[in-house]
Structures are given as C-alpha cells and as structure tokens.
C-alpha cells in the first residue's frame, strides 16, 4: 500500500498555485536566443498548511517563508475569497474502466459539480482514445451534471494528451484553478510523451490533483508533486466521489500567497521552497516557469 493511500486525505492536500504572468509573451526559438532574462512580474502560489493533520488557519503573510532559487522573497497574502474557484474535471472514459466503475465515475463527477458554490465554475474534459472538452468553464450546474453523466466512447487512454489539455484550460481561469483528474493511471495512446506533459505542468502552473484506481502510473504522481496537488490511489472507484469532495474542500482552505521575484530574473524553471514559521506540513508547488523576455528591438 502506498503512503498516499494509507494516510487520510487532509494530510496530503496542501496544494497551491503558481501563476506565471508572462505566459503570453512571445519568444524566439530556443536555439536562436541567447537572452534569458525573465519577464515574470509576480507569482501566486496556493499553499496549504496543516499541523497534526488539521488545516492551520489565520496565518499572516509574515509567517510564510518563500525561497525562489535560493533567494528569500517577500510574501503577500491575497484573500482567496476574492477569487472564484474554477475546477477542470478530467475523467477517464477509456475501455479499461468497466461498466460498474463508470457509474462511480459519474457519481464522483457529480459530487464535484454539486459542491460548486455561486460564482464558481467547472470545465469538463473526458478522454479515451481522444480528448474531448465537453464544456469550457461554466456555472451552469444542470448542464454540467448532464455532461458528466453522458456516455463516453470506449477506446484506449490518451492520458498525456488529456492532462495537457486540462492544465491548459486551468491556465485560462480568471480566478483560482484546480484540475481534478481521474484515471486508471496508464497512458496507452498519446502522441505527447511523459516528458512533454510534465513540461506543460511546469509552464501552466495549474494545481493537479489526481485520483487513480488500481493501476500504477509514473506520470501522475509527478504531476501532482510538481504542481502542489495530491495523488491518491484507490483500489476501487466507489471511494472516488468522497475523495473528490475532500479535494475540493481542502483546496478552499488554502492560502494564496503572492510575491514579486527579487532574484536575478532568469528565464526557465525556478525552484520554490515554501515554509511557515512554527512548522507544519506545507504542500506547495515545487517551482514555476519564467518565460524569456522578447529581445528588444
């Protein structure tokens, strides 16, 4: 039994988000650009703090210690309630899920939809041998419930492709974004490689929480670790609905920390370390991506 499946969810759900604000800045091809100055103005990080398995609430900005590539940063807190929650639900409809499992999958999807509050939205991505964005972010809950219950075509599993799409959609959210991905854990048919989808995770900054059922997966634990999400492995789908509810609840209890990088501003991957004074279990994204600035004319 994995550590993730032994321990209660709340010990693991310490997700956070980094939003790299320079994603839309065009860059020259990698091989042709010697300029590696980054264009990141500020970075947002979703942080969950727990002590003794319980969420720690009421922390101030001064109690957060954020280190960006070895450089201590000045943290600020953003009131999470000022930003709406947007959930990307990515559900595996491939043939490796049996009919009974599929019913649990629908129930789990509906659990998330039912838990959405006014002003919050969800997008739905399903996948088997192709990815289908059933809906972009919407607050139309009846429609979401219908779409979650709609039959999914049987086929192989383009897990990498689906994770890429789900994380991209998360990056379009105007508020806080969370990807909840359910799969049997194995990609069988994507053109996108594991390396590519991990790179997408680094560049989009969307928190990815994963629930897998039964099978081993190499990429999914990496995605959740990298993005500050959780990775949960269940033996059967009948527990997934409850897990989805816990993931959503835990996400709402996170702090939203912001900082303006004060280091050398290099382009590329920045490693983040997040701690809190007084100690505690902190789950946070392990870094963020800073795109290179466009060369000046």
């Amino acid at each position: 039994m994995s550590r993730a499946s032994r321990l209660p969810l709340r010990r693991h759900v310490l997700p956070l988000v980094v939003v790299a604000l320079a994603l839309l800045v065009p860059t020259a091809p990698c091989a042709q650009q010697p300029i590696f100055k980054a264009t990141v103005d500020s970075v947002r990080v979703d942080v969950e703090v727990r002590r003794g398995g319980r969420p720690v609430l009421g922390l101030t900005a001064a109690e957060f210690e954020i280190v960006d590539d070895g450089v201590r940063q000045r943290a600020e807190l953003i009131a999470a309630t000022t930003l709406p929650l947007n959930v990307v639900l990515a559900l595996d409809g491939s043939a490796s899920l049996e009919a009974r499992e599929r019913e649990h999958l629908v129930a789990a999807g509906r659990r998330v939809v039912d838990a959405l509050r006014p002003g919050e939205t969800a997008a739905l991505v399903t996948f088997s041998d192709r990815v289908a964005i059933q809906t972009l972010f919407t607050g139309d809950l009846p429609r979401l419930r219908t779409l979650v219950a709609a039959p999914m075509p049987l086929g192989d599993t383009v897990l990498h492709d689906a994770a890429h799409v789900a994380m991209l959609l998360g990056g379009t959210a105007t508020g806080r974004a969370l990807v909840i991905l359910l799969s049997n854990g194995n990609d069988t048919a994507s053109l996108l490689t594991e390396t590519a989808v991990i790179d997408t995770a680094r560049r989009t900054g969307t928190v990815v929480c994963v629930v897998t059922v039964g099978a081993e997966s190499s990429v999914l634990p990496k995605l959740s670790e990298l993005t500050g999400g959780v990775f949960l492995k269940e033996a059967s789908l009948d527990r997934v609905a409850a897990r989805f509810g816990e993931i959503l609840e835990s996400f709402r209890q996170r702090y939203l920390v912001s900082f303006t990088p004060s280091g050398p501003g290099k382009a590329g991957w920045h490693t983040l370390t997040v701690k809190v004074k007084g100690g505690g279990d902190v789950r946070a994204r392990s870094g963020y991506w800073a795109d290179a600035a466009a060369p000046k004319p």
């Binding site: 320079a22 994603l23 839309l24 800045v25 065009p26 860059t27 091809p29 990698c30 091989a31 042709q32 491939s94 043939a95 490796s96 049996e98 991505v125 088997s128 041998d129 192709r130 990815v131 289908a132 964005i133 059933q134 809906t135 972009l136 075509p153 049987l154 086929g155 192989d156 599993t157 492709d161 890429h164 799409v165 991209l168 959609l169 990056g171 379009t172 194995n186 990609d187 069988t188 048919a189 994507s190 053109l191 996108l192 490689t193 390396t195 590519a196 790179d199 997408t200 560049r203 989009t204 099978a215 795109d291 290179a292």
Partner: protein, 415 residues
C-alpha cells in the same frame, strides 16, 4: 463411404451458382464413379481437395472454400502430405490462395474457442475482453508456402508472405503474425519487407497496451474477461491486441509472451536496420526506426534517421508519421521551431488530427505562446470540434502498400 462423401461434394458443387463450378462438379461426379475402388481413402480425400482447389475463385468465399473450411485438421494433414509430395506447383499455389481466403473469412467470423483449440485473447486498451479460436488455415498456408519454396516458387511465396503479413499487421493480429514471420524469416532471411514487418511486430510488442497486459499476465496467469466465455482451452492463449480502440492480435503463451519494453524495442530497431540495409529506399523502415530510436532515448539519431524520409515522396499516412516522429524528437531536444514545423506539416496532411494538433499546442506553450496553445487545443478538442481522422491511432496497423493492394496483386499473378 468415400464414394458417398465425394458424391455429396459433387452434388454441392453442382448446385453452385457459378457456371464454372457446375462444370467442375461434372468432373467431380466422373471422378466419383470411375476408379474409386482402386484408391485409398487418402487418395480419395486428395482428389476431393483438388476438386475444391481447382474450382475455387480466388478472393472469394465460394462453395469450394466453404466446403474446404469444414474439413478437420486430420483430413487436411493427410491431404497436405500427399499434395506436397505429388501435386504440381501451380495447383499448390491455387491451394494456397483458397486456404488464405478461408483464413481471411474466419477472421471475420471471430469463431469462439472450443476445447483443444489454440485461442487468442482480444484486448481493448490493454484489458482482455474476449477470446476467439485461432484459424487453423494459417498452418495449412505455411506448410503449402514452405513446400512451394522447395519447388522453386520462391518469388510467388515471398509475395504471398508480404501480402498476408500486411493483412495480419492491419488486423493487429500479432498472435498469428508472430508465427507467420517465423516462417517468413526462415524462408526469406534477406527480404527487406519481411524484416520490416518483423520490426513492426516487435515495436507493437513494446507498446503500452501490450506491455500492460503482459505485466498483468505475469502476476495473474488467468486474467478475467469482460464477459463469460468459458474456461481456458488447452494451452496458453495468444494475444489479440486492440490498437486504437479497435479489436485487433500478438503471439502469447507463457513461453511466447512479449519481453520487456526495452528488449522488444531493441529487436525492432535491429529488424528495421536490417530492412534498411537490404533496401535503403524502404522509407517505412526508416520512419519506424526513427520512432523506435526516440523511444530508446536516441532523439538526435532519430532526427537524423527520419529527416531523409520527409525529403522523399511519401503516402499521406507515412508523411504524417514521419512528421510527428520528427516533431517529437525535435521537441525533446528543445528545438521547438523545428518541432512546430514538423507538427504543422502533419496537421496539414490530416487537418483536424487531434494528435498532431495537441502536439502543436504543446510546442506553442513551450515557445511561450500560451494563448495559441489554448486556442489550438480548444479548436481540435473543444465542444465545437468535429470528428477527424487521426492516423496516429492506426500507426501499428498501417503498411505501404496497403494489404488489400498487395493481396490483389498477388492474386492477379495466380496461375
């Protein structure tokens, strides 16, 4: 008894819809009433079989092939021994044609396994969903093919092996294809196309859909099926793999299960290299070799291998494959502009192909164009996108020239 058997056959042939079948039925009737007493039962069987072979219209499942399909393995074995010893080569070639047609027809019927028969597992997304009986006709064909080579019919047999190899690859019927290639390689070790088929088979064995099934087989030798289909027939089953959502097969069995991914990729690489040594113009081998090299982590070599293929004129499917395989390795090397160009070429060849479009989206993101990345992804996978053909889904099945063309060409040359 043998006379009655042959008269029955003659009657069936006499009721055939085709005129030439009626003529042959007359021949069979004559044969049935003349010198039977002097012939052994084996000889009589052979005569019956010859009548079927001579009346069969290649490429069809006519009365002759339908009748031959009901013969037991024992009957066929007796006939084959006699036929291979004394029948002229042109007739044996027509026999090969008839039994091939039966094998093709039996594939379509997906016969259920019976006790004592060798079976094949059908997989869907690495999960076993059913079993079917493997056609016994292939064994007959391989014996005929081997006998024909001994009679100097090498070119005809090689063409048959290539054509039927393409058919089996198209079905992803890896169980039969593995044995087919064992025979093929033994007979024609210097045939580039056969080496190509062998490489593709091992590349298929390395695919996650096969590997995941094999991993489960090793830990649980009696896999559960999606529906009840009875107990195991004797012996371990073969594996019929679904590549890309369609039911399609790999030779399995405890001793015949595919090896680990790296082992199978290494075998595939060696076969593709051999194919290219034998025929440097075989672009399909070049493209597949590049793919295998990339899977082995040799991306720079993969790029150098596949680029020359894209400089030639390729059929659309293989232009698509060459482009996405190039794009993937260029992307891995951080050459995003080159990767984007390659993916764009693939997407232009098959507009709306999701795999290529999502790869374009990936590259756009890596180039810092997140808006473009989202737009491309939503455009191909969003609520407003339609269904489009995606060649990536059928990568392991496709061969150039396609199986139907090769079979038609082989039949056109029949005596």
């Amino acid at each position: 008894m043998a006379v009655f058997h042959r008269l029955g056959l003659a009657a069936r042939l006499a009721t055939a819809r085709h005129f030439h079948h009626g003529l042959l039925a007359l021949v069979a009737v004559v044969a049935a009433v003349v010198p039977c007493a002097a012939q052994s039962p084996s000889e009589e069987l052979k005569l019956d079989w010859l009548a079927l072979v001579r009346s069969h219209e290649p490429g069809t499942m006519d009365d002759a092939s339908t009748t031959a399909s009901t013969w037991s393995p024992d009957q066929i074995e007796i006939v084959l021994k006699l036929a291979l010893a004394g029948i002229d080569a042109p007739t044996l070639i027509r026999a090969l044609s008839m039994h091939t047609d039966i094998a093709l027809a039996e594939h379509a019927t997906m016969a259920r396994p019976v006790a004592g028969s060798r079976t094949t597992v059908i997989l869907l997304d690495s999960r076993p969903v059913d079993r079917i009986a493997r056609s016994q006709q292939w064994q007959i064909c391989w014996e005929l093919a081997t006998g024909l080579v001994r009679r100097g019919q090498g070119p005809t047999v090689a063409a048959w092996l290539r054509a039927t190899g393409a058919v089996l690859q198209q079905w992803a019927d890896c169980d039969v294809l593995r044995r087919h290639l064992d025979v093929s390689l033994a007979l024609f070790p210097q045939d580039a196309v056969i080496a190509l088929h062998a490489g593709t088979l091992h590349q298929t064995f390395a695919d996650p859909r096969v590997q995941q099934y094999v991993a489960r087989r090793r830990t649980s030798p009696r896999p559960a099926y999606g529906r009840t289909i009875g107990d195991w027939a004797s012996g371990p089953p073969g594996l019929r793999q679904s590549l890309n959502g369609r039911l399609s097969a790999v030779g399995a069995g405890s001793a015949g299960l595919p090896e680990a991914t790296e082992v199978e990729l290494g075998r595939a690489r060696d076969f593709f290299r051999r194919a290219l040594q034998l025929d440097p113009s075989l672009q399909e081998a070049r493209i597949r070799l590049a793919h295998v090299l990339a899977d082995l982590g040799e991306h720079a070599e993969a790029v150098a291998t596949v680029r020359p293929a894209l400089a030639t004129t390729l059929v659309p499917f293989f232009e698509f494959y060459a482009a996405v395989i190039l794009g993937r390795s260029e992307e891995h090397l951080g050459h995003y502009a080159a990767a984007g160009d390659a993916y764009a070429r693939a997407a232009a060849r098959f507009p709306g192909a999701e795999s290529a479009e999502l790869a374009r989206s990936r590259v756009a993101l890596a180039q810092g164009r997140a808006g473009d990345a989202v737009a491309i992804a939503v455009g191909v996978a969003g609520p407003e996108s339609g269904e489009h053909a995606d060649p990536w889904a059928s990568y392991f099945r496709v061969h150039d020239p396609d199986a139907a063309t090769l079979l038609a060409a082989w039949r056109a040359g029949l005596p």
